[in-house]
């Protein structure tokens, strides 16, 4: 057993499994255990608690080292590029759509259709289709957080909306929320670990969720009590997690700035639109006192009106597609920060216990308690899971923002194309008139 500062698991990256030493192997065991590496799509054993190995083709992050020790040595490090397209290996597809309003005596709420298509054996049928409401998604998220504390759970759209400020049943609001729920579910189902979570299975297949909210609450309370009681202080956070924290802080800041800029642009565009509308009407009113200039004036008025329409579309598009995704990432950053905090906590706990155990060992030569080992396991799993999730998150973030920003550029190009067409049609119109006049004059 190593004495002194706890050895932090080195970042294994793409190293093959066999090269990585088991953290407990320093003195005693020479087990060629596994360490979770690189977040990648792969099947994973189910039934974590009973330790029964199921078919495994590649290692994946698990939450129990103990279980992994029982795994086949056929496990190989998956060195596939984490950013590579993995649609070939996808075997679970989920969609959220078709919002509907339900009115009952007690309450009014919206449900969404959740459709599942899968070839996984964990599912009894290949297709499922049922309806869920926001509450159900929330239940799922809480369950996932509880059962997979070392993983980053994607965020849900905001739960509470100020009544009177936002219309919970407006088409816009429902549409935006639905898209976010769809994204949430897709992210969960694309995750190599979370997608095998039994609660997800329940969510996608069970007629009645039978939500035991009370239990969830209890679990949460339990956790915080544990942490409060522990009160462990973190000694040295590994550099890479520090870097993650710093990145998240700066990234969050930039997200906030971009949100503010986007909102400001929307405001300015809206004010511009107001003036532009009035501008168009002045041309219309001028028509009345003119004869020869009728056509060009009407034409200009028409073109201005078309531009107003295009501008309206742009604003709508930005506020419906751009801003919500941006805000969702702020929530995502918060989730990630929480996971980092939890990791810090579990490392602190381990360090604390280790110190205590070492002192006791020095005093009365008692062997290292199992709890300490368990703690170390926990920390190492946590770190590994977190790193894998971080890579996945970074990759998704890159894709998401690429899509978001190209979408924004597209919308703007579209807007200008519409305006250009409106003005060009005016030129054509006037050109035709001129040819008309010429021919009529020469007759």
């Amino acid at each position: 057993m190593s004495v002194g500062a706890p050895r932090v698991l080195a970042s294994s990256g793409q190293k093959p499994i066999t090269e990585i030493l088991h953290p407990l192997s320093a003195a005693e065991d020479q087990l060629s255990g596994t360490v979770s590496v690189g977040g990648d799509k792969s099947t994973q054993e189910a039934g974590l608690t009973n330790g029964t190995p199921v078919e495994t083709s590649s290692p994946a992050s698990t939450s129990s080292l103990f279980n992994r020790l029982q795994l086949d040595d056929d496990l190989e490090a998956d060195v596939r590029d984490p950013y590579a397209e993995t649609t070939e290996t996808r075997d679970l597809f989920v969609t959220v759509d078709d919002p509907k309003k339900h009115v009952s005596t007690m309450e009014t709420y919206i449900t969404y259709r959740v459709s599942t298509k899968t070839s996984r054996v964990e599912f009894d049928l290949p297709d499922y289709c049922l309806r869920r409401r926001y509450q159900d998604f929330d239940w799922l998220r809480i369950k996932l957080e509880d059962s997979q504390p070392t993983h980053l759970i994607p965020p849900l759209p905001e739960k509470f909306v100020m009544k009177g400020v936002v219309d919970r049943f407006s088409e816009e609001f429902v549409e935006t929320r639905m898209k976010a729920l769809d994204k949430f579910l897709k992210r969960v189902s694309d995750h190599p670990v979370l997608s095998f979570n039994p609660h997800l299975n329940t969510f996608l297949t069970a007629k009645d969720l039978n939500k035991r909210q009370g239990l969830a609450l209890l679990t949460k309370v339990g956790e915080s009590v544990k942490h409060a009681a522990g009160g462990y202080k973190l000694r040295a956070r590994p550099a890479e997690f520090c870097a993650m924290g710093e990145y998240l802080d700066t990234f969050n800041q930039k997200l906030g700035t971009i949100d503010r800029i986007a909102q400001r642009i929307l405001k300015e565009q809206s004010e511009y639109l107001t003036e532009l509308r009035e501008y168009g009407t002045v041309y219309s009113s001028w028509v009345g006192s003119e004869e020869e200039l009728r056509r060009p004036l009407e034409g200009v008025s028409g073109s201005v009106t078309s531009c107003c329409g295009a501008l309206e579309d742009l604003g709508e598009g930005m506020s419906q597609d751009f801003l919500p995704v941006l805000r969702e990432y702020v929530l995502y950053v918060e989730s990630m920060k929480n996971v980092l905090r939890k990791r810090d906590q579990s490392q602190a706990e381990y360090e604390g216990r280790l110190e205590a155990a070492i002192i006791r060992k020095q005093e009365d030569r008692t062997p290292m308690p199992v709890e300490v080992e368990k703690c170390q396991d926990k920390v190492e799993c946590f770190n590994a899971d977190l790193k894998a999730d971080w890579e996945r998150w970074q990759s998704n973030k890159r894709q998401d923002f690429k899509q978001l920003l190209t979408g924004m550029a597209d919308k703007n190009v579209n807007h200008y194309e519409k305006c250009q067409a409106a003005w060009e049609s005016l030129i054509t119109l006037l050109q035709d008139k001129q040819t008309e006049d010429k021919t009529s004059e020469s007759n």
Partner: protein, 438 residues
């Protein structure tokens, strides 16, 4: 760029080439005026080419800074191949001299719609545009406006023949004396007084009434248009400039990214370009505003002609009325009946009849007055008819010009908008490419 048919007076169409710039559009307008050809323009080319700041003492012996404009003229002749154009004659004029010229023309040709000068002070300004008369952009636009004014006058069938105008272009120093010698200023002052007086015409000319109404409507709508346009420009400026903030934040963000960094950074540069592009766009749009402003000021000139006609009509009616009164008086005197109450009648009743001699001399004077009155009436009538004839000729000419010019202006405005859209598409497409590389 022109689709002008030889021989027919068609509008200058710049349709088809939507990449034309405002300078080219301006040149097309000038070419039109030259094409229409007056004797003066056939002989002489004229430009207002430069502006310079001067300081000097003004009439109250105080130092002032003012701008002078360089007028270049040269004989209009076709050059032989490879020949160099003749050096132009040049002289400097300041705005107040242009004003003097215009006032002279107003007085001398009351039946002509005198082309307006560019505005004295910047109006309908959107907030970033300078309202300062010494601002180089304002001076530049004024230079263009003054050149336009000269060409308008030079291309007018009547005004182009005026000697004072010719001297304005050719005699720098003596011109002021000559124009003042014409005595137009006295006429101006008296005219001004009469015009500002309130009077009612008994039989207004329907055509002039309609024209005045149209002129007022046009004035009102163009003012409104310019006002709203300035607000639109303001707002559009805001929209573009805020996008510049994206440039900064993308740059900051790119610093913490690995693969995304380059794409973000270059996209940010495009956002900066986008934000900066609005300055040129709005600068060009000012040209459109200036075209509208010219016609806004033209409405004042139209109104002025209508008012002058009204005054003339009124004076005619007064002379006619006066004549009628005198004839009535004569009749009374002859027949001895007092049909109309008159103080003279009363006093003669009160203080005794006048002598036969007195009566006869009065009658003679009255008859003389009546003869003079009839002459005056005939003159005034002819004057009025001549005024109406020449005015309507010019009004018809003006209407055609206005329809042509404003149509042109609207087309060039559409072209400007297309150009702005193209720029927008370019920038955002470039940004999209960068985002794709993220």
């Amino acid at each position: 760029m022109m689709m002008a048919d030889s021989g027919s007076i068609e509008g200058v169409a710049v349709i088809g080439n939507t990449d034309i710039t405002s300078t080219e559009a301006e040149n097309n307008l000038i070419n039109t005026m030259v094409e229409r050809g007056t004797t003066l323009l056939r002989k002489m080319e004229m430009n207002v080419t430069e502006a310079e700041k001067r300081t000097g003492k003004n009439t109250v012996n105080m130092q002032e800074t003012y701008t002078v404009y360089l007028i270049e003229t040269r004989p209009a002749e076709t050059l032989p191949e490879g020949g160099t154009p003749a050096t132009p004659d040049t002289l400097w004029r300041r705005y107040s001299e242009f004003e003097l010229l215009r006032t002279y023309l107003l007085v001398t040709y009351p039946y002509i719609i005198i082309p307006p000068l560019p505005e004295k002070r910047a109006e309908f300004v959107w907030h970033k545009m300078s309202a300062d008369n010494l601002d180089p952009d304002f001076v530049e636009r004024r230079r263009v406006g003054l050149e336009n004014f000269l060409l308008r006058v030079a291309s007018h069938p009547v005004l182009s023949n005026d000697k004072i105008f010719f001297l304005f272009l050719t005699e720098e120093k003596e011109w002021r004396e000559v124009v003042l010698e014409t005595g137009f200023q006295d006429k101006f002052d008296s005219r001004l007084k009469s015009l500002s007086a309130m009077f009612r015409v008994k039989n207004p000319d329907k055509r002039f009434t309609a024209l005045k109404l149209y002129s007022d409507e046009l004035n009102s709508v163009i003012s409104q248009l310019l006002r709203v346009r300035a607000k639109v420009a303001d707002r559009l400026y805001g929209v573009y400039k805020v996008h510049g903030n994206y440039g900064r934040v993308f740059s900051e963000w790119s610093a913490i990214e690995k693969e995304m960094g380059d794409g973000l950074q270059s996209a940010g540069h495009h956002m900066d370009t986008y934000a900066a592009s609005i300055d040129d766009i709005l600068e060009e749009e000012e040209h459109y505003a200036d075209q509208l402003k010219e016609y806004l000021f033209y409405t004042d000139a139209v109104r002025s002609v209508c008012r002058k006609h009204e005054l003339m009509q009124y004076e005619l009616e007064m002379v006619a009325q006066d004549l009628v009164q005198k004839k009535q008086q004569k009749e009374e005197l002859v027949t001895g009946t007092v049909r109309v109450f008159s103080l003279k009648g009363m006093t003669s009743k009160l203080f005794g009849q006048e002598s036969q001699e007195q009566r006869e001399s009065r009658l003679a004077a009255l008859e003389q007055s009546i003869r003079e009155g009839e002459e005056t009436l005939k003159e005034k009538n002819t004057e009025c008819q001549e005024f109406v004839r020449t005015a309507w000729e010019d009004i018809e000419r003006f209407k055609e010009q206005k329809d042509r010019d404003l149509r042109e202006a609207l087309i060039s405005y559409a072209i400007m908008q297309i150009s702005m859209c193209k720029k927008g598409i370019q920038v955002w497409s470039n940004a999209k490419e960068c985002f794709n590389k993220m």
